[in-house]
Amino acid sequence: MKLYCLSGHPTLPCNVLKFKSTTIMLDCGLDTTSVLNFLPLPLVHSPRLSKLPGWVSKDGSANLQKELKECAGRVFVDSQPEFCLPEYIHRELLDLSTIDVILISNYHCMMALPYITEHTGFTGTVYATEPTLTIGRLFMEELVNFMERVPKAQSATCWKNKEMQRMLPGPLKDVVDVWAWKRSYSIQEVNSALSKVQLVGYSQKVELFGAVQVSPLSSGYSLGSSNWIIQSHHEKVSYVSGSSLLTTHPQPMDQSSLKNSDVLILTGLTQMPTANPDGMLGEFCSNLAMTIRAGGNVLVPCYSSGVIYDLLECLYQFIDSANLGTTPFYFISPVANSSLEFSQIFAEWLCHNKQSKVYLPEPPFPHAELIQTNKLKHYPSIHGDFSSEFRQPCVVFTGHPSLRFGDVVHFMELWGKSSINTIIFTEPDFSYLDALAPYQPLAMKCVYCPIDTRLNFHQVSKLLKEVQPLHVVCPEQYTQPPLTQSHRSDLMLELQPPPMPYRRCSVLNLPHRRRYERVYILPELANSLVPSEIKPGVSLATVSAVLHSKDNKHTLQLVPKPPPVAPSKKRKRVLEEPPAVLAPKTLLSGAVPLEAFLATLQNHGFTEVKVEETADGHILHLQAEDTLIQLEEDGTHIVCDNNEPLRTTLRDLVLRFLQKL
């Protein structure tokens, strides 16, 4: 059992498991933090961005004025943003065309799917739940839309030159594999990739070539999010990705099914182990209220699904108590409408109390009411209706959380200059300081309340204590306290035996050894067996059969009787003739008791016996006959010099002590 680790990002995993005869990719997350190195893509012409000075190295030796722009001491690539893909360029690590299936755990962890299904010769199937597919598609469409509606004429590549990169300042100098960075995919690629997805429901069992069975379990993190169980008859591997024990909107996590795993692959823990989601939600609300009361606007850069539902629900309760009843809330995204609507129809994927609302019948999420009462309005973009209905002070939810593309860029340019406005970061995926870097100097107030509902270390230790896997595999980041908080030894995994850490490009030999395989036996064959009891309760029988393996299913069949030999002399037939079946030898079992054996030898006239003890048993030296008998646990050897009658006699004496089958 081997695990190939293609991504080093703990919450955007991409691992490949080779298990029995199958090759299974577990998630294909796209590391989008690379876009932080690029300049934002403004929706309308931004004089500020266009006037940024180009970068020239101090000694003037490197001139990349066209490609790199400087803002507040940091350098950004002026080009279409690019993403850091899972490691598949190095074909020597793994040939991705051999992947049989891809299992997706949630819509955040599938954003690299088009790169893999469309460019690697992939021919397998992708498994995901329905909400994962639907919302994943929305995310991809949104991404494509964000990129394509502001095309960049130029594509910067010179800076990637190794010689050049070495001279660059700041974070650009240290980024790796820049040549592997890729621009966004197209909508055609998205469609083609998603057409390979096969839908599955929680606990549904999917057979892979008869070798293993995979099955998704609710993970409680987002709509349709799942953990996966991959099991054969005798082995069980659990794959835990983004999971949550909080009672937000999704169905609660199924923990008990993870029990008794041989190996548990653990990814997708919270990125903010010190930020408690409840506290952050409170912080979010109070900062929002504080800004609105002071007459400012609030900008919330966010994804178009997920935490936003919880934020809206929380605000729904909060706006009345904080007297924000008249403040408009805007949700701007190319997929805003679909996201809000889809969330209401995935009743079966919701937590119990939301499900029960459907039968009342009421919409499960209160954002329906916010929309009805005109408190929440959604628009596909800032163009069109929005510009005419826009009223301040207001709260705007819009993407992308990296602040590099999407409508959020516009609001940053619009509101950034005034200190009465506030930007509240709720998505934990990007460092807010890095996200804000190209907007400096910024007068706007910044509040960082990352809401990450994924498991924290405390919860995961409790979970592991309960499900008790034999071995745990996890990203190396989880095996030590966070770099910035090295004193917090409570923010790491401490297990016995210690977890196996992995990093990007690791290939792990999973410690689990396969020891058993299930083999079926045909009834006729079983009938012919003659078991003999070798000790009370244990019977043995010898089997002669043909092992038939097809679709990873093994069956013992009767040995076909040799057909009456036709008097043909053709060569071809000789080749097809089954091999002659030899009569099976009797099998011996038991051990030769030394004392009794010596006595027997004595009786038979072998009087001069010298016994020597060895590591494995004894050596009996019959001095008169110059013969050795080696008695070992799994074998007996009689060494005599060309004296066949003597050997036979001795052999028969030995056999007296053994059982025959």
């Binding site: 409840d278 506290g279 609300c285 504080m290 009361r293 009345d320 007297n323 004193h487 917090r488």
Partner: protein
């Protein structure tokens, strides 16, 4: 006992004697006993006045079918009757006494199983054991052994009562009352009633023998017995005189030593209690000191900490042990925070190792640290030669513990990380530490750390994960430290900015508790600042803390809050914030009229009582702190006054009509202030009608001053006329009159008092009716034709009709009918005041509302009635005993 009761009592006794089943109201027996006890304590003799009781006792005791409740009552009654030596003798003449307390009798009847009876037995004996004769009876009857057995009764109440009883016997009959001994009630000791020393010796012998035997648990299951015995011993040692104490210590000394050595966790605290009791009474007994030393050296860290804490709490001044206890309590803090509180611990001893091991377990870590923290303030106050470090280092340690708890500890901290992670995020420890920090303000040298304290507290207020109670405690600590602060120069711009930002954020919090504590904090801060200003502090503390951020807008926002508590807190905080301006007679700000109109809106519309009460109180504090407009005051200040007077008028009329009685009482307080101001110059006026005898409960307080006769001359009332007119015009009189007929007694009482004061000022009864009406005839007030106005008119009419009985009743009703229409009527204030019968009303109102239903007479009647109804079959009687 009055005659009526005496007449009813035999009937009641018959009921009790005859009732085989329990009484419908089981509290009536208790009440009956209370009444009897009262009579006995007042020196009355029940036996003489109610011979029927003795009959009752003998009937009940001989009736095998008696209800256990009634039996228990009988036992206790017997004890009560035999409480004096004289009556004891009388009872002893009857054969009943032996029978009543005869254990064997009850056991054979199978009634001893009932806990009711057992407690009756103990309490009966306890009441009786007030004189040597009773003790002799007790000893001769051999009751001591059964009593000792009851000490471990399955019922906790019985076991406790038995313990108390044992202590009572030993202490009460101590041969020589030690001088100045803080013993129990010994009022009857001086009568030369020394008990026969043989009896007492016998008792002491058997009890102390028992103590010795039962102190050390034979098996683990006997721990309860040891526990009970230790409790008893602590009771005894705390109050025993020297001979008894020495005797006890001598007897149980070995057992105590054995217990200390055994070191059972369960027994640590009670054992410590005993040793400390012995210590405080016996002074420097070597053996006790040794025991104490061993207690402070036991091996189990958790027990040791509790023992040390118990020692410190008792406030002993023994240097060696105090130093030891202090070290024990500081060690966990030292380990966790890495602050060297104990100096360099040269003896890296086993104890420290085992403490660290204990601290590694989360639950014991939290409980140990909390014990240490709650003792830190006490520790800093111990003499410097006892402390292993400067008191200020303890403040530092608490601060760094607070940082660890919030997860913000700098990584350079040398504390044990394996231990410290147990307290990260624990709100229990946070609360304990904040409480300790609040109390540590009084520690010597603490102020050196004030800047650090502020930084940590602001961090706590900032922390999104802080529990609402933790935030509340942080605010309290901040206030406390502000109030002791004399120099605000340490507050940097950054600190100020942080505090302002966090306060602004917290008033918008999702949790109402947090908003409430924040708003409250702002109010208190204004209060603290005022008191600092009063102390002639040049710098403004509020300005120092919050800079030029005005809190008023924040508080105004909070007036709109959806939670009524927050609204109420915001109103009182606004009052506190503005008090200073009012006192200075400052000009009206732009926002003040808006605040006032919002407050009046709350008073008239808010559905919750708290904000409405707060509104009236706001105006009370405004009115009482505003400076009346003088000739020199500017026009703006007078505009403030006119706004105040205008709004006071609305408050009076709205507060009068409120549904909440507290709002109405507050409205009356406001009216009183207006009266005070109007009449303060008049000789007949007594300011503060009930402020002198203000009691927390307005119930049943008799007015002191209402009945003094005044001998004013007519001239006194002349100036009063115009003032009365003002008061009427302000609506004060309407408030008082409507209050008088209010159905809530506290309101009516307060109104009545004020009306009497007013009457005494403007038209005292001593003045001839003619004089008064002549002087004040011109001032009249309008009564509405419905509601309270009609009530008042009705009273006035009744009074009139009393005076003129010949008037036709039909006429009256006709008149009433004419007024039903609702037209308002003008009446002369003075006439009304005189003819409302205020004094009679006052008398009725001052009696508590249950005075009729709580009398012994009604109790007896209840029992009789209940039994009468109860005996009718098939009728369910529900007796409301209150």
């Amino acid at each position: 006992m009055d005659r009526e009761c005496a007449l009813l009592l035999p009937g009641v006794c018959a009921v009790l004697a005859g009732s085989g089943s329990s009484l419908p109201d089981d509290t009536s027996l208790e009440k009956l006993l209370d009444w009897f006890t009262g009579i006995t304590e007042d020196g009355g003799s029940l036996l003489e006045t109610c011979p029927c009781l003795l009959k009752l006792i003998s009937t009940v005791v001989h009736n095998a079918a008696s209800d256990p409740g009634v039996l228990s009552f009988t036992l206790r009654l017997t004890g009560l009757l035999a409480a004096t030596e004289e009556s004891f003798k009388t009872i002893q003449e009857h054969p009943v006494l032996n029978k009543v307390f005869n254990l064997q009798h009850w056991q054979e009847a199978g009634l001893w199983e009932d806990p009711c009876l057992r407690i009756g037995w103990i309490q009966g004996l306890r009441s009786m054991l007030q004189h040597p004769k009773a003790l002799s009876f007790f000893v001769q009857s051999g009751f001591i052994d059964p009593l000792l057995q009851l000490q471990t009764d399955t019922s906790l109440f019985i076991a406790e009562a038995a313990n108390q009883m044992l202590a009572h016997i030993l202490l009460f009959f101590q041969p020589v009352p030690p001088a100045g001994c803080k013993g129990m009630d010994k009022k009857e000791k001086g009568d030369g009633m020394t008990p026969s020393s043989a009896d007492y010796t016998a008792v002491v012998k058997s009890i102390s023998g028992y103590l010795k035997e039962s102190l050390v648990p034979k098996e683990s299951k006997n721990v309860r017995q040891s526990l009970q015995t230790l409790k008893l011993l602590a009771l005894l040692l705390a109050q025993a005189g020297p001979p008894l104490r020495d005797k006890l210590l001598q007897t149980v000394g070995d057992s105590l030593e054995e217990l200390v050595t055994a070191g059972s966790s369960e027994l640590t605290l009670p054992l410590m209690d005993v040793i400390l009791s012995a210590c405080s009474s016996s002074g420097t007994d070597e053996r006790i000191t040794r025991l104490l030393s061993s207690m402070l050296n036991i091996n189990k860290p958790a027990d040791l900490i509790h023992a040390a804490a118990a020692f410190l709490r008792r406030g002993h001044h023994d240097t060696v042990h105090t130093a030891r206890a202090v070290r024990i309590l500081l060690l966990p803090l030292d380990i966790m925070t890495g602050q060297t509180l104990l100096g360099t611990i040269s003896t890296a001893d086993e104890h420290q190792f085992s403490v660290v091991e204990q601290l590694k377990s989360k639950s014991s870590c939290i409980s140990m640290i909390c014990v240490c923290l709650s003792n830190t303030p006490q520790i800093t106050l111990t003499p410097p030669d006892v402390l292993p470090c400067l008191p200020v280092s303890i403040v530092t340690a608490v601060l760094s513990l607070l940082r660890i708890c919030s997860g913000n500890s700098p990584s350079s901290s040398t504390g044990c990380s394996e231990v410290s992670r147990n307290v990260i995020g624990s709100s229990k420890v946070q609360k304990c530490a904040l409480e300790a920090l609040t109390t540590l303000t009084s520690s010597p040298g603490a102020k050196e750390r004030i800047s650090e304290v502020f930084t940590v507290l602001i961090q706590y207020l900032e922390n999104p994960d802080s529990d609402p109670t933790v935030l509340h405690k942080s605010y309290q600590a901040l206030l406390k430290w502000t109030s002791v602060c004399t120099d605000f120069s340490f507050i940097t711009d950054q600190l100020r900015h942080d505090l302002v930002e966090v306060v602004k954020k917290r008033v918008c919090d999702m949790r109402w508790e947090v908003k409430d504590s924040t708003v409250e904090f702002l109010g208190h801060l204004a209060g603290v600042c005022d008191s600092i200003k009063a102390a002639a502090e040049e710098r403004d503390a509020s300005e120092a803390l919050l800079g030029d951020c005005s809190t008023t807008p924040l508080l105004r926002e909070a007036l709109q809050d959806s939670e009524s508590y927050v609204r109420a807190s915001a109103i009182s905080a606004l009052a506190k914030t503005l008090t200073h301006r009012w006192q200075q007679g400052a000009t009206l700000t732009e926002e003040e009229p808006e605040i006032v109109s919002r407050l009046l809106e709350i008073l008239s519309q808010d559905s919750e009582g708290f904000p409405r009460r707060a509104v009236v109180q706001y105006f009370i504090s405004w009115y009482s702190s505003h400076s009346p407009p003088s000739s020199s005051s500017s026009s703006s200040s007078s505009s403030s006054s006119s706004l105040l007077m205008q709004s006071v008028r609305s408050v009076l009329s709205q507060g009068r009509a409120d549904l909440d009685w507290e709002v109405k009482v507050h409205t009356l307080v406001l009216a009183e202030l207006l009266l005070d101001e109007a009449f303060s110059g008049h000789p007949g006026y007594k300011k503060g009608s009930d402020s002198h005898h203000a009691s927390p409960h307005a119930y049943g307080v008799v007015s002191e001053q209402a009945y003094t006769l005044h001998t004013h001359t007519a001239t006194h009332t002349e100036g009063a006329e115009s003032d009365l007119a003002v008061v009427v015009e302000q609506g004060v009189v309407s408030v008082l009159l409507s209050g008088l007929v209010d159905c809530d007694r506290p309101v009516a009482l307060k109104a009545c008092r004020l009306l009497i004061t007013l009457r005494e000022t403007v038209c005292p009864l001593s003045l001839g009716a003619l004089d008064a009406s002549a002087a004040m005839a011109t001032v009249s007030c309008e009564l509405p034709g419905c509601g309270w106005g009609r009530e008042i008119l009705k009273i006035l009419k009744m009074k009139k009709s009393d005076q003129a009985k010949e008037e036709d009743i039909a006429d009256q009703s006709g008149l009433n009918g004419a007024e039903e229409g609702g037209d308002s009527v003008c009446v002369s204030v003075c006439e009304a005041l005189r003819s409302l019968g205020l004094d009679e009303r006052m008398e009725v109102l001052t009696q508590s509302s249950d005075h009729i239903h709580n009398s012994p007479l009604s109790l007896l009647q209840d029992i009789l009635t209940a039994s009468a109804t109860h005996t009718k079959p098939g009728e369910e009687v529900i007796v409301d005993c209150y």
